[in-house]
């Protein structure tokens, strides 16, 4: 288990900083190496339970006490 602290004002900035901190995340999350942030198909990033793809994408603004969650490709039923 690892932890870190980063400051970010948008979802894209947060992902960029996390990937820079934990390099192994790059392959797992991104189609291309940064600086472009293009999430791989099946990767879900939620802001307070809403998928950022249906908010403002990478430009989705973050505020104090927001919760961002990242999920790998998942299926079930």
């Amino acid at each position: 288990m690892s932890s870190t602290e980063v400051q970010a004002t948008t979802a894209g900035e947060l992902i960029r900083k996390l990937v820079s901190e934990f390099e192994e995340l790059e392959d797992l999350l991104l189609e291309e190496p940064p600086p472009e942030i293009e999430l791989k198909s099946g990767i879900t990033v939620m802001l307070n339970g809403r998928n950022i793809r249906f908010l403002e994408g990478n430009e989705t603004e973050l505020e104090e006490d927001d919760t961002v969650t990242v999920f790998p490709p998942i299926g079930g039923g």
Binding site: G42, R50, F54, T69, F71, G75, G76, G77
Partner: protein
């Protein structure tokens, strides 16, 4: 060897084989069960009366080496919904039936006596034997006794105590690869249709069987390879992928985060305690205590989403705890303990009940004050009421809507009398559109909009957008086709994203049947199946008012997103546009 229909009249105890009619030649699985029910069952008959029929059919490619294709469809007029029903399960039973050349078993007639029978089927013929001594016995013991007496490797299916009580929540259990009654054609009360025909069990022995006839081995093999490659490549279905590693309960955390995991009888959409019943937590426990993960529901599955859940000491295996079961018997009743959920699931398997319906029934009973939410012992006591056939048990065994009415509950989460599964439609509206409009009653598997709405599989759709008619319709058509081929619905995760996989599935079917279908034919074939089913329902008295979600979901906001189900009625009617 062309496929046969085995027709059993339980009143006269006559058994006969018929050639599969020309009209049914290209059907299997759901396509075949629904067609036979539509052709032979009067839509206005009483589901438990003499005119209903129970139909079993393996899929078109079931019994071959096609990957993840061990499904059996079971159809009848449903005692739960009053409409047509198809429920399917993954089990070696289906593969054995197909290898014996059986396209379908049709069980008809209603005997006047109460002597339960077991149908035994092998390459040399069929016979009915008395099994009255297995009446009133749980299915774990009954399956073990039958396999001990007739052969450990046999395929077994059976109806349980819930079916003997004529419960509208009684499923049909099939053997898993351990021989336990954990694979269910659970939904819609089909167990009661079986038991009221006087049939309690079916045993299938495929030793020495000729196997499934394949018209063009080359085409079949090409298709099989393409589909296998897609399944082993896609992130969701591949070895070490989400389903293989954590099972279907891998959904608990993401659906909870999306605010769509119903808690306390659909009162809110998330709760931090849900993580205690997640697939990740369950997988960790299995590593510690024993059991098995991954596991396969039937031989030849390349996904392996199943598992064997046990008690804390690693003994007394239950079988799989699916996402739906863990939710229904867990968070929906405010129960967040995997061991309690495991024991409730064991009771459902043993009594012969659908876990989704049972969990919802317990939740409405809790809302009605029969027990308190979160009362783990109380929930298990309700299962004993059913086992003992008490008046309370006889209410509970009839499912969520019946129990809700009996206990004065107005928030009853059902559509067409069938309980809503583990995705709150106020937070994921495409699945709500499927719940409302599928001919099956609330059924997530009928058009699994969760794939594009939550997982980003097969496209991406905003779960809160109310424009979902086209999405649900397309998914319902393609699902009807997958259910007809005999493939598991989870193959859709791969074939929706990998075109070669879908081509492979069609080529497998062409190889078996000698047809020249293309991917473009899929929607039309699926449409045909759904139209047959909806026409049956229309004749049974269904109108567009039956294609609606419960009032409380349209009016009561669901925390944390505080949304209601606001897909307009016109949008729901636009899915099929066929009911008056």
């Amino acid at each position: 060897m062309s496929r046969k229909i085995l027709r059993i009249d339980m009143e006269s105890e006559s058994l006969k084989f018929e050639d599969l009619p020309e009209d049914y030649k290209y059907l299997g699985g759901r396509g075949l069960t629904s067609q036979i029910v539509a052709d032979e069952v009067p839509p206005d008959c009483h589901p438990l009366g003499p005119n209903n029929k129970l139909v079993f059919a393996p899929g078109i490619v079931t019994g071959t080496s096609a990957p993840t294709s061990g499904r059996i469809s079971v159809g009848a007029k449903s005692p739960l919904t009053g409409g047509i029903k198809e429920a399917n399960a993954g089990t070696s039973f289906s593969q054995k039936l197909a290898r014996l050349g059986i396209g379908a078993i049709v069980v008809e007639g209603k005997p006047s006596g109460a002597m339960y029978k077991c149908l035994k089927l092998d390459k040399d013929g069929v016979q009915l034997v008395n099994v009255e001594d297995l009446s009133g016995i749980g299915l774990y013991d009954a399956f073990a006794e039958l396999r001990s007496e007739y052969g450990e490797g046999l395929g077994v299916c059976g109806a349980g105590i819930a079916a003997e009580l004529s419960g509208a929540n009684s499923g049909i259990a099939f053997n898993d690869t351990e021989g336990m009654p954990s694979r269910y054609a659970g939904r819609g009360g089909l167990g009661a249709v079986m038991a009221t025909r006087g049939l309690k069990f079916i045993l299938v022995d495929d030793e020495g069987a000729e196997g499934v006839e394949i018209e063009d081995e080359g085409v079949f093999e090409r298709g099989r390879k393409k589909l296998t490659d897609a399944l082993t490549e896609h992130d969701v279905t591949k070895p070490g992928g989400a389903l293989n590693s954590y099972g279907t309960s891998v959904l608990v955390n993401i659906i909870n985060e999306a605010g769509a995991l119903p808690q306390k009888n659909f009162s809110r959409g998330s709760d931090d305690r849900s993580a205690k019943v997640s697939g990740e937590k369950k997988s960790e426990e299995i590593k510690k205590r024993g059991g098995e993960r991954p596991h396969r529901c039937s031989p030849g599955c390349v996904i392996g989403c199943s598992e064997v859940w046990t008690r804390e000491d690693g003994g007394d295996p239950v079988g799989v705890l699916e996402y739906e079961s863990a939710w229904a018997l867990g968070p929906n009743c405010e129960i967040y303990d995997l061991d309690t959920i495991g024991e409730l699931n064991r009771q459902c398997n043993d009594l012969g009940m659908d876990t989704i319906e049972a969990g919802n029934t317990i939740a409405v009973a809790m809302e009605g004050g029969v027990k308190k939410f979160g009362d783990e012992d109380g929930a298990l006591e309700l299962m004993e009421e059913i086992r003992n056939g008490t008046p309370l048990g006889k209410i509970l065994v009839n499912g969520t809507e019946f129990a809700g009415k009996a206990f004065g509950v107005t928030r009853i989460p059902t559509v067409k009398g069938q309980a809503i599964p583990a995705y709150d439609p106020r937070a994921i509206k495409g699945i709500g559109t499927t719940y409302a409009t599928t001919p099956m009653g609330a059924d997530h598997t009928a058009g699994y909009a969760i794939a594009p709405e939550i997982m980003g599989v097969g496209g991406e759709e905003d779960p809160l957008s109310p424009e979902k008619a086209e999405l649900s319709r397309n998914l319902q058509y393609s699902t009807a086709v997958i259910d007809t081929t005999g493939h598991c619905l989870f193959t859709a995760f791969a074939v929706l994203d990998i075109p070669e996989g879908l081509e492979g599935m069609v080529e497998e079917v062409n190889g078996v049947l000698g047809t020249d279908l293309t991917v473009d034919d899929i929607p039309e074939i699926g449409k045909g199946v759904i139209e047959t089913e909806r026409e049956f329902n229309k004749k049974a008295g269904f109108t567009r008012q039956d294609d609606r979600l419960p009032e409380f979901m349209r009016e009561e906001e669901l925390p944390p997103h505080n949304d209601v189900f606001d897909v307009p009625e016109e949008e729901l009617d636009r899915v099929f546009g066929d009911l008056g």
